[in-house]
Structures are given as C-alpha cells and as structure tokens.
Subunit: 443 residues, 2 copies
C-alpha cells in the first residue's frame, strides 16, 4: 500500500478497429466472433498481470463500420464465457444506458460478478451514434444532455438493485428450515424522472460487493457523469497535456462532490506502435500511414460527427467550418478535434490522420515504458487501457514493456488480489441496508 | 433417420423450485448462484446424452417466492459460461418479450449461438406476474392478449435480425483487402404495430443458422403463439389425457398454418419421484406430501393467479369460485386447474397439492421408463423436460431410466450431432436473403 501503482487494461477487439489489424497474417478473420480467441487473449493478459480486459461496444452499424464492429460477440455473453476460464483478471464490458432496462442490466452484470467471483466491471456509455435510435423503436436519439441525465439515474437505480439483499440474508439453514430472512430482502421503490423500478433484484452481492463502474465520456456532460459515478475512466487523451488537463479536471470535479479522487482511476486508451528499436517502430508508423485509405479515414473521422460526410470537402484545404453541424454524437472527441485543428491549423487530411493516432507512443519497449512513466508520474494517467493490436505488438508489450515497468516498481509482478476492486485499490461499497444501527441518544 | 426418437431436457434449478430440494444434504445452499454447480450438472446431462439443459426465469420476486427464484444467475450469462465447458448439449434460456428490446435479445442469443457453436435455444415467454411491470417503469402489466401479440412480432423481428448477413458475407480476404461484401449485409427496416427496428445486426449466423425457438404457453393465446413460432414446447401437462389433447391440438394448429408438425417437438415438464422400487418411491411421495407446508403450497397456487391470496378460504371446502379474479397471469395453468377442480370436485387443499405434482411419474426406473414410453408412443409427448430435483433422483434417472430407454431403442446411445437443431432433427433455417436467384423467363 502507499506507493501509487500503475494499472493496465487490455482492449480486445478481435480483427481490430482500424484498417490494418485484420490483414495481419496471425489474426484470424473470425477473431471477433471466436470465443477461443478472447479466452486465449484474456489468459495472455492475465499471465502479464493486467488489471482487466475491456470489451468495446456500440448498438449500431453501417456497411462502412470498421472491421471489428461489423460482426462481433456481445459483451456480457462474451465475458461470462471468459470468466470461467480465468481466475484473476477483471472483466469490463460496455453497455449503453440509452437502450436497456436497468433491471436487466443489474441482473446481467450482477450475474457476471458472481460467475467471475468478483471481477465484473461495467463501462457506462450513452451511445454516440444517432442511428442506434432506429434499432430501438425511436425516430431520434436522445439529445446529448438528456442522455447523460438518464445515465446518471440509470446507474443509481442499478446500484440500488445490487443492494437488494443484505449479505447475511440467506442462512440456508437446512435443519431449521429457514432459507431466507425475509426482512433482509429490500425493494428499491425508485420513482425518478426517467426510470421507475420497484425491485428487489433476485440476486445477492458478490465478493467485491458490486461491479466496478467505468465511464469514458470526455465532453463536459461526460466529465460531470464520470465525476459522479466513475471508479475508473477510459477517456482517450490525444497528448500528454490533454491528459493532464483531463486528469486534474475529473479528479477536482469528483473532490467537489465529496468523493476521494484517488478512488477514480484514470486509464486513457493506449494505441502504441512498438518494435525492437525506435527506428523500426518509426518505420512501421510511416508505413501504416502510407497504406491508409483516406476514404476510410474520412468515414472514421465522420463517426465522431455522427457520420457527417467529410468526403464532400477539399482534403488539403483547412479543416472545414462545421458551424451548424449538431454535435450530439461523440461530442467530447468532436469538440477536441475541432479545437486541435484550429490551434494547429490542420488541413482536413491532417485532421483525419490525427484522429487515428495519438502522438508519442511509437518506439522500442524502453521508449514506450518511458512515455508511460512520464504520463503516470506527470498525473496524466493512473494507468492505460492498451489496444492489443496485432499479436506481435501485444507480445512486445507483454514481454518487453511490462517487465521494464515491473523493474521500475511501477507495476505488480504478481496479483495480490483476485477481485477487480482489489486490483484497482477500490473499497467494497457498503450495502446501504446494512448500516450500523443508529444509537438512540439518552435524554 | 425415420424412426421417431425421444428427446430429453434437464431443467437446472439449483436449490429447487419446490420446498424440499434445498434441504437435501447434497444440495449446496448457494447452488442457484454457483456457476460450477451449473457446469457440473450440464456435464452430467451431456454424459447422459440429453438434448439440452433448460434455464427457467422470471423478472419479478417477492419475499414468498420459491427458493431458486429468490437468488439466481441470469440465463444468458449463465449459459454462456456453461457453453465453453460443454461440447454437445443444447443450451436453452428463458427470456420475456414483455420487458426486453428485440435488438438486444437478437445480439445476446446470437452471441450464445456462436459461443456454443450452434447450441443455443430461446424459450420465449411473455411473463405471467403482474408485479414485473413495476420493475420496468410500467404501472400495469400488458394484458394477456396483447402480450402474445407482442411476442409474435418480437420473435419475427429477432429472427429477421439474425439473417442480417448472408453466410458468405465476410470473405476476410487479406491479400485482396476485402473484409466484407457490403451487398451481403441487409437491414431489416421493420415497422410494425409494437416494434420498429432498422438493423442490421452486427452478427453473422451460427453453424445451426439460428437459435431454436421454444415456448411454453398453454392458454389459447399461448397455443396460437406456439403454433406460429415454436420449434419445441415445454408446456406442462398434468396427466396423459391432457398431454394427448395438447399434443394433437398444437400440431393441428401448426399444420393449419402450413408448418410441418413433426418439426415442433413437444417436451412436457417431468417431475418424477424415483427410487429403487415402486414401493420406496410411493413412500417418498407420501413423505414429501406429509412434510409440505400448506401455507407455502397456497402461495405457490396463488402464483398461477397472480399471487391471489388463497389463505382467505376454508382449506377443506370446495375449490373457491374465482369469478371476478382476472386471469392475466399464468392463464393456461389457472384455467386448467379450475377445470380439474370442478371436474374432480377437489377441495382447496386437494387442488393445492394437485398443483404441485402431475400424476403418474412415481416409481422405480422401469416404471418411469414405462410411463415415458406410454406418453411417447401415445403421442402425448416427443420427449420430456426433466426437473433434475435432488442429486440422487437425477442420478437414478441418468443411470436407471436412461439406459432402459436406450435398450428399447427410444433414446440415443451417443450424440450423432453437435448442434441443438441436429439433436432435435430440425432443419437449418434458410437465410431469407440467400434465396436462389429468380430465373428470368425467356420470352
């Protein structure tokens, strides 16, 4: 205890979320729907003592969606299968509060938490893409502010349902014939602005009390939500300074709400290009850039602007003026890109490339470790959520970068815990119905 | 092929849905939330060559709910974990169409179908208990007829989403750089009375094409739905004659809709009391009856009538007149019990006991096998869905009853298939978008 420790997640995206991963000779074409691929990679991450694996998600696709998102396993079913083949690593799945019922979400993440014996985490998202609405009987997506308001209430309902039973509710006393202490089962009776849920949930708490809440929004509303609910965040930060700003702002917001800012772990996404030497990594980076299909990059860029069609603009003119384009999608990312494009006077082509890669994490394992340490010590991150990328890149990280971080005393050499809360140094939340009895003051 | 074969399911309910199972010394008090318990029992059923395991469900509890339902794993997460520890047995989970979104259901059962490599089944229910509404933001449950109308549309939407991709949509051609044939991805664009879902789903079909659809409703509306959508049914039949009536009626209804009635497998629930001898089984049955708590039986009886309080009536007077009590709950079961009580002039006490057990399946393994064969040959069943009950009872079924059925040529000695459709003799449904091209007639 005491010494601050780095945390690592592994983003498992099968055939990959960018253009080159699926074409790698060692990436199976069906990786995103092959449970054995996920189990194998979860075990590799567990062998390297990662805190968690992370499953991205989105409930909407088009023919232009990137490879992994086109055809993939759903996070809860996927993680439940992985749970029973691993023993320590945390299991974090993405699920939107915009198109689910709190009661069903509470049951499924609560079940995953039992199946994994206390390793479940929920990445709370509100869904960026407008088109998702039409998969759920709505003509229009919820407006950005409403989405976040609903998310906050949704998460509070789910957490309330998770406390339906006190921990000693089930004596299961065979001789006495008492299965349940009925007075230790508690309905929720929530009636709020967006949800009305009576409860109780038919599920006890797990060894870690409740699943860990993650969040990734970077807009102002996203940060407000994160400061309220998040125990970990995955928000992308394109460079060190942005990372520091986000880190300080999020923790200050949490402290202002009366929370302990050390109990929110900031784990930005990490998309490194690693090779044996810095020169080789730089060469690979240039090669990847040279091979990029600019049309696909423009589609990817458009995703942050709800599939706005950037192919209508001159590639080498300044980044277009988007006044009038509604930012109801990935609002934080969109606003940041507009700001960067303005500050650095980028062309559309340059902005499309910048949208694909953060700067700085290109080099040998030692260079990558240096950069990780700089972000960690500079309070731009409490750790990172690593895109596993190609098999050789993931191997270089596990076998090259991780040992350096361990030698420097930044990262665990073995697990000291077997729950996700344990890895992250988060307390088991107290059950709201199991407070110590209030003493009645003597007159 | 040719010879009609018996099908067997195993209902896994952990600590059990009746009063005595959880008190058995070999039943762990936490069986219903212990994934290892489910994996172990699924493997036992697979070793005995069962067609499937079956997970019951309901999204509503009270303090009086029976032991298993009070605290249990959610079906989809549970089955996904079991999938990766089994190789042949079918995996059937219950899920209500009243309180889920079709898009999410299509994804989760579709993912289970990939994780299990073609062994998923969905038991479609509409939820009997009014109280469930209050867990999902509604003051009132959907009216019985509306529930079934919604269910039919819901299932059709889900099946449409499952066909989003033609089977050869993903060449994943690394050299050519072609991941997806965009013209083999198909939106659904469904706009119906109850649901509006655009699609496409981000998931290909599995080895068995689509998950198998099961259904259990026994009311007139339930049978109409079953005749339309079911490929297997689990409806309870309290005796042989009721079983024959249901079997003939359901298959006639299906035939009238143009379906092949042989492709709907009727598997009533089976709750046997088995011992080494008939005398011992009869003794156990009497003992169980003697030990029953009539108050709990009345609560259980009330469940079919939406928790109507039967404790207000004289136990030994004739079954009460329920004119005025709305049957919007488990309507088929409630109507049947009223009919039986009238025809046999049962008291309330007798009806409460009758509600707990079907007649006839009490005896030695040979007696149970005889009764199974009588139902099977008498066209009251194509097989049975066995409540596993206590460990010794389940062992007597697997090691006593199953070998007799195998000797008689009624039940497989080994698996001939490794998909659920394979076991049940059901065809792989054709993808609606992969029809043979229409020949253009020469003039």
């Amino acid at each position: 205890m005491g010494t601050r420790q780095l945390h690592l997640g592994a983003i498992l995206t099968g055939v990959g979320n960018d253009q080159h991963v699926w074409r790698h000779p060692d990436v199976p074409g069906n990786a995103s729907i092959d449970i054995d691929w996920y189990i194998r990679h979860a075990k590799l991450a567990e062998d390297a003592k990662f805190d968690l694996i992370f499953i991205v998600d989105s409930p909407y696709i088009t023919p232009d969606t990137s490879p992994h998102f086109l055809n993939r396993l759903e996070p809860l079913t996927l993680l439940s299968a992985v749970a029973s083949h691993t023993s320590h690593i945390g299991l974090v799945g993405t699920l939107t509060t915009s198109y689910w019922e709190p009661y069903n979400v509470a049951r499924q993440f609560g079940s995953l938490d039992h199946i994994s014996r206390g390793r479940a985490g929920w990445n709370v998202v509100t869904t960026g893409l407008e088109g998702a609405a039409r998969n759920y009987g709505r003509d229009e997506h919820f407006e950005h502010g409403v989405r976040y308001e609903r998310a906050l209430e949704f998460v509070r309902v789910v957490q309330g349902l998770w406390d339906s039973y006190e921990d000693d509710a089930f004596p299961a006393d065979k001789d006495g014939g008492l299965f349940l202490h009925k007075d230790k089962q508690h309905p929720l009776n929530h009636k709020g602005k967006h949800f009305s849920v009576a409860g109780p949930l038919a599920l006890t708490r797990s060894r870690q009390g409740q699943p860990v809440i993650f969040q990734a929004g970077d807009s102002s509303e996203g940060r407000y939500l994160g400061a309220n609910i998040a125990e970990g965040t995955f928000a992308a930060s394109p460079d060190f300074e942005s990372g520091r700003e986000y880190y300080a702002d999020l923790k200050a917001r949490a402290a202002a709400l009366g929370r302990n800012p050390d109990k929110i772990k900031v784990l930005p996404g990490l998309f490194p290009i690693i090779a044996d030497t810095d020169e080789e990594a730089q060469r690979i980076a240039r090669e990847q850039v040279d091979n990029l299909d600019i049309d696909k990059l423009l589609v990817q860029l458009g995703r942050a602007f709800n599939y706005h069609d950037f192919r209508q603009y001159d590639l080498d003119a300044p980044f277009p003026d988007l006044t009038g384009v509604t930012l109801n999608s990935y609002k934080g990312a969109a606003e940041r890109l507009i700001r960067i494009a303005r500050d650095e006077q980028l062309t559309l082509r340059q902005a499309a490339y910048r949208n694909q890669w953060a700067k700085g994490f290109v080099g040998s394992p030692a260079t990558i470790a240096d950069e990780i340490e700089r972000w960690f010590n500079g309070r731009a991150a409490d750790g990172f959520n690593l895109n596993v990328g190609t098999p050789d890149s993931f191997a270089l990280f596990r076998e090259g970068v991780v040992p350096i971080l361990q030698q420097r005393g930044l990262f665990r050499k073995d697990y000291a815990h077997d729950t996700l809360r344990g890895h992250l140094g988060l307390p088991v939340p107290e059950n709201r119905h199991a407070q110590a009895p209030v003493a009645i003051a003597a007159e």
